[in-house]
Amino acid sequence: MTRRRLPEWFVLLLPAIIVIAAVVLIPLLFSLYSSFTPYKLTRPSTLWKWVGTYNYEKILSDAKFWAAFGRTVLFLTIVLNLELLLGLGIALMMNKVTWGQRTLRTILMFPMMFSPILVGFQFKFIFNDNIGLVNNVLQSMGFDAALPWLVDGKLAMFSIMFAEIWMSTSVFAILILAGLFAMPRDPLEAAKVDGCTPWQSFRHITLPFLMPFIYIAMTIRSLDVARAYDIVQIMTGGGPARRTELLWTLMSRTGYVDARMGLANAMGYVSIILSILFTIYFFRKLSAARAELGMAG
């Protein structure tokens, strides 16, 4: 009797398969399964109760969830666009710098080097309505009122966006700068001879060339911002009264504060759709922009 042997490729891949299964696949399947149960962290036995799509149905009719969903989309849209504009501006200016550009580039990266938690605390202090920097400055300039930066819903949203943009604009700036470095000079000179104004050569020559770089930055940042949690959690904790609640703060509240892990997992799966949609959208745009320029793909 010959023993059946496992195929070699499988044996060789087994360590990798085991690791991936342990850290990715099994947790993923577990979370997917638990999203179909009323799993509560405080009552482990609830894990074995199958409720079908109850959690999902509940989410779809949950105004709080959709408010957070919409707020996240709004947050994404505003933050990404502002970061793009600022990053583009910074990159264009950096590209003109002839002396000390390396140093400047490094300085530009500083905000990215900080932990988001620390950035959160820093801006929490800056925007604090009593002792914060901003209000101090405003008052010393003669404004009487102390603006409730982190207490008023709209202002709080603004403050969080400000922190997020401060921290991550350099992602855009660096990627766009890389694009500017890679850009051939000849077409710009040809455009000059053709009689373009600086704005026209930017609009018709530079910008189309930068679009692939912009879309790559957009994709990276959309995934990043869609899971914004740390800054929000530190600065407002989703408050006041849930007015700055984003998807991930809502999920962590549901999962860990209310201990309703099954429901939180279901929310996670629904909100992944958001990230997938943004990614697909930007990748389509990226391929189109690359095809325009005659790059492969």
């Binding site: 040809a190 053709d194 009689g195 005659g294």
Partner: protein, 351 residues
């Protein structure tokens, strides 16, 4: 159509002067080739005319206008770049039309000009393609089309053929020449290729190290090179240079060979003689010890040294001929074909 005047033109980058007191007067409709080794400043000079580099001092006039301070777009020039510099995201048609659109010409006029240029260059069937779908030669045509549609006073070419393969380069060279003759537009063409320069230019400006070595017709440059540099640069294979002395109305080579010339002066000189002007003759005074033979079909190149010296000497003999390495071959050199240069200043000495 316009004349171009370059007056005492210099270009400096910081304290380094790269172009020194360039003078030149280009006639209306003339095809001028600026030629020189890489780094001689030829592209810089062209880019100064284009307005892509600033002028440090001196003056450039196109037609009646001083253009030093004008933007490239205001100089009424069109330029063809080495790397074609097409706009990658625009179709061939859009590439050619872009400059006209910027100038706000009517759509009908734009279409007319683009199609006319496309017909001249035989690229009509590619008008709706993107540059990436074209071969190098086709891209070069599009780049020229973009220049033609503008109907400028001056064409500027910055080594436009250097990215093409040898065969295509010869073909495009002829086409550029024909096109320029047909349109009659004053043109400046930069190249490092002396054959391209000789075949294209009405006149050649030879640049070396930022100085104009000579500015003249190809034949003037070939027959009466103004300096050792021009003599060595123009003509292929390159001219032979031998140290010599002028004494008693003749040139004495370092191995004692005497060639009679009519020169009253006595001096140390550098004797220049082109390989094709050495005539094989059994009694000839100049003996070449053959070290290598190159058979080119139409002629045969003999590389070796002047007998009794280590000075390199090359001769070009018409037709096929067989020579042994180490063999001595005798040549005579007619006095009218000799060039004498001052070894100090490297400039031409008139006989």
């Amino acid at each position: 159509m316009a004349e171009i005047h370059l007056t005492d033109l210099t270009k400096s980058y910081g304290p380094t002067e790269v172009l020194h007191h360039i003078e030149g007067h280009i006639q209306d409709g003339e095809f001028i080739v600026i030629v020189g080794p890489s780094g001689c400043g030829k592209s810089t000079l062209l880019r100064m005319v284009a307005g892509l580099e600033t002028v440090s001092s001196g003056e450039i006039r196109i037609g009646e206008r001083r253009v030093n301070e004008l933007e490239p777009s205001e100089r009424d020039i069109a330029m063809v770049f080495q790397n074609y510099a097409l706009y990658p995201h625009m179709s061939v048609r859009a590439n050619m039309a872009y400059g006209l659109k910027i100038r706000k010409l009517s759509q009908a006029e734009i279409n007319r000009r683009v199609e006319e240029a496309a017909d001249i260059l035989e690229i009509r069937q590619y008008l709706d393609r993107k540059p990436r779908q074209l071969s190098g030669g086709q891209r070069q045509r599009v780049a020229m089309g973009r220049a033609i549609v503008r109907d400028p006073q001056v064409f500027l070419f910055d080594e436009p053929l250097s990215n093409l393969d040898a065969k295509l380069r010869v073909q495009m060279r002829l086409e550029i020449r024909k096109l320029q003759q047909r349109l009659g537009v004053t043109s400046i063409y930069v190249t490092h290729d002396q054959v391209e320069a000789m075949t294209l230019g009405d006149r050649l400006m030879v640049l070396n190290g930022g100085y104009v070595e000579q500015f003249g017709t190809p034949i003037e440059l070939y027959d009466r090179p103004a300096s050792i540099f021009v003599a060595g640069f123009i003509g292929s294979p390159a001219m032979n240079f031998l140290p010599a002395e002028v004494k008693d109305g003749s040139v004495v080579l370092s191995n004692g060979v005497i060639i009679p010339v009519e020169s009253p002066k006595e001096a140390n000189v550098t004797l220049g003689i082109r390989p094709e002007h050495l005539q094989p003759e059994p009694e000839g005074a100049i003996a070449l010890q053959v070290e290598m033979v190159e058979q080119l079909g139409a002629n045969t190149l003999l590389h070796g040294t002047l007998q009794g010296t280590d000075k390199a000497l090359t001769a070009s003999v018409a037709g096929h001929a067989t020579y042994e390495n180490g063999e001595f071959v005798n040549f005579s050199a007619p006095a009218s074909m000799l060039h004498l240069f001052d070894p100090e200043t490297e400039s031409r000495l008139e006989l």
